[in-house]
């Protein structure tokens, strides 16, 4: 088997295991990454929402925010895990295609 084929098999395993990145923090009651809080979390931490933060925090409405489908936030871990796996597949597909295209455009021909 070619080495890149093996690495793609590894990638498939990582996709299947990816919900661990959701389940383990939940299990160990770990919150957001430091400095990645939503406005309400900042309010709870420092007692106010900085004005600039309030203005820019929701500048962009991502189509799959935080690797979860919109409206699924309260659906529980099994649903969120499913959305996480789909996010991993979609993300990997787009990232690898974009990197491949850029690589193709840049790489020198011949070897």
């Amino acid at each position: 088997m070619k080495i890149t084929t093996k690495l793609w098999v590894g990638m498939a395993i990582l996709i299947a295991l990816s919900p661990l990145g959701l389940i383990l923090p939940e299990h160990f009651k770990a919150g957001s990454a430091w400095g990645e809080w939503g406005a309400d979390e900042v309010q709870a931490l420092v007692g106010y929402v900085p004005k600039g933060l309030a203005k820019f925090a929701s500048l962009w409405n991502a189509p799959i925010p935080d690797y979860a489908f919109k409206g699924w936030e309260e659906k529980g871990l099994p649903h969120l895990s499913f959305a996480y796996i789909i996010s991993a597949i979609v993300g990997i597909a787009i990232v690898s295609m974009a990197a491949w295209l850029i690589g193709k455009m840049l790489a020198k021909k011949g070897d």
Partner: protein, 222 residues
């Protein structure tokens, strides 16, 4: 360490975009000269690996979460300039599609994770593995150390960027406009949690994959 929108002021955001634009330009110029067609699939795998490994949030029980980036691993495989492009692609998709990291902070996030991290890690790996045989354990250890330090340098810089905000932007009454925590809080926390926990995750991931690749084709990790 994906800085969201609203945490860095306009000056910091603009500064890091201004720093990254020439870096991206040089990266494409150099990769154009050095990347071989047969390495393109590896560039795609590397970018995808970085994307997915960042989804594995590791908890500090009762506290925060963090994750590995894979930036040093990609740099060992393809060189730091190609790694810069691969990690940038992952960060751009994370920001636009998943809202992971802000659009205004994308320059800063790319500077930390797609530029400084792969470059720091790459040269540490090269130094520590200097003259080591391709199949030696020293290369595996060098990769782990490089991953650990690479992630920690990036985390330290992120702490500085967060911590500068209350100094740069505040109201007359002293309330922060963007990130509310100063250098004395942001640096120890960002550095501490990466030194204690997340750096080790990066070290283990980097070393294990290098070990695997070494067995497959030692020339890959030259």
């Amino acid at each position: 360490m994906h800085i969201p929108d609203g945490y860095l002021g306009p000056a910091t955001c603009g500064f890091f975009y201004a720093v990254m634009l020439p870096i991206w330009a040089v990266a494409s110029k150099i990769v154009k000269k050095t990347l071989k067609t047969k390495q393109v699939p590896m560039l795609a795998v590397g970018a995808a690996f970085s994307f997915v490994i960042m989804m594995f949030n590791v908890p500090i029980p009762g506290g925060t979460t963090g994750h590995a980036v894979g930036g040093v691993l990609v740099a060992i495989l393809l060189g730091p300039w190609a790694a810069c492009i691969a990690i940038t692609v992952a960060l751009v998709i994370q920001a636009f599609l998943f809202g992971d990291g802000g659009l205004t902070a994308l320059g800063a996030n790319c500077f930390n994770m797609a530029f400084v991290m792969p470059f720091a890690g790459y040269y540490i790996y090269k130094t520590l593995s200097y003259h080591a045989p391709f199949d030696s354990n020293r290369r595996v250890i060098a990769a782990g150390v490089a991953g650990y330090i690479g992630l920690n340098v990036a985390a330290f810089l992120t702490g500085i960027e967060f911590g500068l905000q209350p100094l740069l932007h505040h109201t007359a009454s002293g309330q922060a406009l963007y990130c509310p925590y100063g250098l004395k809080v942001a640096i120890p926390i960002m550095a501490g949690q990466h030194l204690l926990i997340f750096g080790w995750v990066e070290a283990i991931v980097t070393a294990l994959v290098v070990k695997f690749l070494q067995r497959q084709d030692p020339a890959l990790i030259a």
